[in-house]
Amino acid sequence: MSTANLAHLRERAQWIRTETVRLIEIAKSGHYTSVFSAAELFSVLYYHTMRISDDPQWPDRDRLILSKGHCAVGVYPILAEKGYFPVAWLDNYARIGSPLGDHPDMKKVPGIDFSSGSLGHGLSIGLGMALGLKTRQSPGRVFVLLGDGELNEGQIWEAGQAAAHFKLGNLIGIIDRNGMGLDGMTEETMRIEPLADKWRAFGWQVSEVDGHDLQALVDLFDALPAQSDQPQMIIAHTIKGKGVTWMENSRVWHLGYLAGQDAQRTIEDIRSYQWT
């Protein structure tokens, strides 16, 4: 990928972060760091990888399920920018009557492929979508963004065994492996490692990648097989709160609120962040 294109993806990821700060200031509470760990994933998926069109209901489109639904605030600005709904909706984020809340509602928000929020459901939803698309001989693929904490849920592994059983090569899981949940490190709260081995044992093709390295993400998504009888699991190693120096790997910022000068300073921090 050209330097200019990579710079564009970087700019989009930064914009996702600054928009997240802006929107959460309206709601007065939100999951900043869960978006920040996934910002590069959103940038690459929505601005490079996914086959989507101006019609958010295009039957053969690629889908993205936000199984970690609390990152939706980072996706709303993208969907508005794509023209799926008025940009002005963002200014009333989470206010009474707004279609936009902390967890996404597919009936209210064009471009949201499934309503989520109850952790552990998303891979099963993706499994059903992938089965349906395969049955209907659609080329559409299904991406499921999973939090690492929600891998504690048993239903994830029910879906994992079924996707391999049904040979769903059109199902791609992405684990935002930021290492932290609300109570702290995933490995302290409830150990999920060895993650790659577990998914391999369940019959998935597993890749690991630096989830903030745009070139690596582009290369990995570009290399996804067009035809496969194996579901794909991408473990994206990320940093919770990435892109805001003082939020990175912080235990206290899973949920939070930045107002006024603090929000402005955070936005400046995001804009001046030194990417290596």
Partner: protein
């Protein structure tokens, strides 16, 4: 009690005592469902069937023989199955999900609510062997709270057919219905409740008999029991209306209240706890519409205890959920 040989599939058994899952009977509710769905699927590519390692119990294997590419056995993982059905529905499919009512209505309650009903997707949930029809399998396999749970979920329709005849009507009339539907099915091996030609309309209470002393609202297996009870009561000079309240959601408030108005003496007979089910739905309609002077008698399972252990028929008898029990209850109240 008759002892059932599990290898005797296809052989006519003494129905009154037999109930084994492995025994095939053509009028079993789920066998009817599989046949009707296979027929509907011949001309409708959207229809698919999911089950959780119960294909030989609920006879959805019959569907799989005809449409193998649209039959998905998800293994013993019911919550994954219900969520996957919701995902399937977003791609334009109409998934019919079949498993025991205890697992659908209780284990998968949140998945039905959050993944099927909240996005209002056309997922069809076939909860079979509802009530205590799994007999001495015990409370883990009984579903006597499912209607109460399902009733509280927005967007969800609930239908409880009385027999194979009405189940077939229910399936055919609701194929194009928007949003999710919970079909509450029994074993379906009881005698038919309907006579050929009697009307069955989705969303409308079916009046099966007219009388002047009371009205009995029933559904599921209690419809045949109520009809039989009404016949024996008639010989004693007590005449009752028998109405099949098969569609619990949307609730036919007008139809139900107009029948209540005739005598203001109401019995509700259901294979469900007396709290939260159809009796409560009828009580809600009475209270919400300010209808005064109504006596409501609930015939069902006691809500504050778990079921005794026995085969289904002895259990129905024990709890008064048969023709004799219903007649006795009506007689006692009206006397």
């Amino acid at each position: 009690m008759t002892t059932i040989d599990i290898h005797s599939a296809g052989i006519e058994m003494q129905e009154q005592d037999s109930w084994h899952l492995g025994m095939l009977r053509t009028q079993a509710h789920s066998a009817i469902a599989a046949r009707v769905l296979a027929e509907l699927a011949d001309s409708d590519p959207r229809i698919c069937v999911l089950t959780a390692d119960l294909g030989f119990s609920n006879r959805t294997v019959e569907f799989s023989y005809r449409h193998p590419e649209r039959f998905f056995n998800l293994g013993i993982a019911e919550q994954n199955m219900v969520s996957a059905a919701a995902g399937l529905a977003t791609t334009g499919m109409i998934p019919y999900v079949a498993t025991f009512a205890s697992f659908l209505g209780l284990l998968c309650c949140e998945h039905i609510r959050t993944d099927c009903a909240y996005p209002n997707l056309p997922v069809r949930l076939l909860g079979h062997h509802a009530g205590i029809s799994l007999g001495y399998y015990g409370t883990s396999h009984h579903a006597t709270e499912d209607i109460g749970i399902m009733r509280s979920i927005a967007n969800l329709k609930i239908i409880c057919p009385a027999d194979a005849y009405s189940l077939e009507h229910a399936l055919r009339q609701t194929v194009h219905e928007e949003g999710p539907i919970y079909f509450r099915l029994g074993r379906g091996r009881e005698a038919d409740a309907y006579q050929p030609g009697e009307g069955w309309e989705y969303g409308k209470v079916s009046i099966l008999r007219r009388g002047g002393d009371a009205v009995i609202f029933a559904n599921g297996i209690m419809v045949a029991a109520a009809r039989q009870a009404a016949e024996s009561l008639a010989q004693e000079g007590i005449t009752v209306t028998v109405a099949d309240l098969h569609t619990i959601q949307p609730f036919d408030t007008e139809g139900v209240l107009s029948l209540i108005e005739e005598t203001r003496q109401v019995f509700v007979a259901e294979e469900h706890n007396t709290r939260g089910g159809v009796a409560t739905a009828v009580a809600d309609a009475i209270v919400d519409n300010g209808m005064a002077g109504v006596k409501l008698v609930r015939i069902g399972f006691p809500s504050d205890e778990y079921s005794a252990i026995a085969a289904p028929y002895p259990l129905y008898q024990y709890y008064g959920l048969d023709a004799v029990g219903v007649a006795e209850r009506v007689r006692t109240v009206l006397r």
